[in-house]
């Protein structure tokens, strides 16, 4: 009997009983607080955690200093960077005028937003004019043939961002569709991995700039259609992204699957799982964290590659935007390119953050992900 009691306290049942003694309202509040913090930690917004604790009235002094260090430190680094940037930029004269500092870049970004609104307003006006003209035509002659012409104004900066994201996702998904099954196969069969290993190692470091000409020629030879569903430039850049970004996923999947704990496989043998069940109940779940680490690296590479690919393939997107501005060579160009650089960085950061959150969601060992 005595034994059993020690047992229960060791199992932590005691602790949960103590929690129950706290008044219910307070308990609910604690629960809510912990849930919010858990969620913030999951999505990586850890700098909000001290704020939540502060609102909950938990050690205000400690939380304030935590907030100051978590938000204050990065902020002061950014300010310092801008300061240096402004100082250096004012001393460099280029053939396109002075190198823009943070203020000029900010002005350009406002300009790009305005341009976007103007373009949208123009588009709206264009369709409204057609509408008016068509109604008039119909009033005069109900049998008149009506046509609505599509608006062909230039793509704005924001259109370019969306195009780029669409292209990178297409390339990344295509790459994943190849990399994961092939990676699982390589992980399961040592012979296959030994066979294709050198090929992987050779193709992995190849630059997108080297692939692009080949892909362009192959696509224009193979992808022939009078009414193509996708523009060739889009196919070119998506395929380039695919070819460059699939390797980390492929390698990580193979390593993840092949490094399963042998005892786990032995458990499978003892309960007589068949081959297929072993793969999808043991091999894949066990490799999932590794697979997602690979996917995260792949997205990052894909995004870097895409900008270069778009520049060369003239696929509408951020890369083309940068190239066009460079060719344009107006006094605004450098500022606009710098806006693009910042946006490229932010989008890359967001993509990485999405992958990290997914990785945490599928990972059974939360501590292993950072």
């Amino acid at each position: 009997m005595l034994n059993k009691n020690i047992f229960i306290s060791l199992l932590g049942i005691d602790a949960s009983r103590r929690e129950g003694e706290v008044t219910e309202k307070k308990y609910d509040f604690e629960l809510l607080k912990n849930k919010v913090i858990g969620f913030l930690e999951l999505i990586g917004f850890t700098w909000f955690v001290p704020m939540v604790r502060l609102v909950a009235g938990e050690e205000p002094k400690k939380q304030l200093s935590e907030i100051i260090s978590r938000i204050g430190l990065p902020l002061s680094a950014i300010l310092l960077f801008m300061f240096i940037w402004a100082g250096v930029a004012s001393n460099i004269k280029t053939s396109l005028g002075q190198l823009p500092g943070p203020v000029q870049v900010w002005e350009q970004s406002v300009g790009l937003v305005d341009e976007h609104h103007e373009e949208r307003a123009k588009e709206k006006a264009f369709y409204e004019r057609q509408e008016v003209r068509n109604t008039k035509k119909l009033e005069e002659n109900p049998d008149a043939e009506i046509k609505i012409r599509p608006y062909t104004g230039k793509a704005t900066f924001f259109d370019q961002i969306l195009t780029s994201m669409g292209t990178v996702l297409t390339g990344f998904l295509l790459g994943t569709l190849i990399a994961i099954p092939l990676g699982i196969a390589c992980g399961l069969s040592n012979k296959l991995y030994t066979a294709v290993g050198p090929l992987i190692q050779i193709f992995k470091p190849v630059s997108p700039l080297a692939w692009l000409p080949i892909i362009t020629m192959v696509v224009s030879a193979v992808y022939i259609s009078d009414d193509p569903m996708f523009a060739k430039s889009f196919v070119n850049s998506a395929l380039t992204v695919m070819l460059c970004s699939l390797w980390p996923t492929l390698i990580n999947t193979a390593v993840g699957v092949s490094s399963i704990d042998k005892d786990l496989l032995n458990v499978g043998r003892v309960i007589k799982l068949n081959w297929w069940t072993t793969v999808y109940k043991i091999a894949i779940p066990s490799a999932l964290p590794m697979i997602f680490t690979g996917l995260r690296i792949s997205v990052g590479i894909g995004w870097m590659v895409l900008i270069a690919a778009e520049m060369l393939a003239q696929n509408p997107g951020l890369g083309k935007f940068v190239w066009d501005e460079f060719q344009n060579g107006s006094s605004n160009s450098l500022g606009r390119i710098m806006v693009a650089v910042v946006v490229i960085g932010i989008v890359g950061y967001v993509l990485d953050w999405i992958m990290l959150t997914l990785q945490k969601l599928v990972s059974y060992d939360k501590a292993a992900v950072n």
Partner: protein
Amino acid sequence: MTHSYLDLTQVSMEFPISGGSFKALDNVNLQIKKGEFVSLIGHSGCGKSTVLNVVGGLYQATTGGVILEGKEVNEPGPDRAIVFQNHSLFPWLTVYENVALAVRQVFKNTKNKHEMDEWIKHNLELVHMSHALYKRPAEISGGMKQRVGIARGLAMQPKVLLMDEPFGALDALTRAHLQDSLMEIHSELNNTIIMITHDVDEAVLLSDRIVMMTNGPAATIGEVLKIDLERPRGRVELADSEQYNHYRSGVLQFLYKRQHVPEEKVA
């Protein structure tokens, strides 16, 4: 029955290594009765695990063989459930799902969904883990993980439960609790159990017989000690028992006087 329940006959095991082979086991003979609790004890590398893996069917004996209830063992199966030293739970499954994976596979033709659910919970109840059904292995302690491992083994309703140093990685207190639980379960279900251990006290406390193995290579059974202590056994009461200490020193003698210094044996 004239034959014993589990019969190891002249089991030898050779592993291929570069430039020849390594003889791990030589001529191991052991008969185990139904409901018996047998411990295998010996120094590291003496082939205890190899014996267990041969019975479990994970290894094939080079010569000789294992017969369980009149049938030869030559592949792994749920009738010889294995509890691994490092618990080997699937980290992405909850406690319940870990046991469920085994139960659904083993009883897929004999139990319906409801019966399976009851059976899973019943086995987790046996090891006192009902309070953590929906926790993942990373969220529970080492001792609890091992409990779940044992529950998974028991849930397969094995003819023989094979335990490979099940408590080796646990601290002394947790180990004592798990040993008590195991004795409770053994007296309740009367399972046939083979357990590998390094711990002399554990072996004497739990076993009906202790099988002491000689040092490898070509390890074999050196001595078998029958433990005639009345059950239920209590560790505190036994600490002062003369008989208990006699058994204990018997095992220690074997391990440290006769096996520790192999040169003497040769001389």
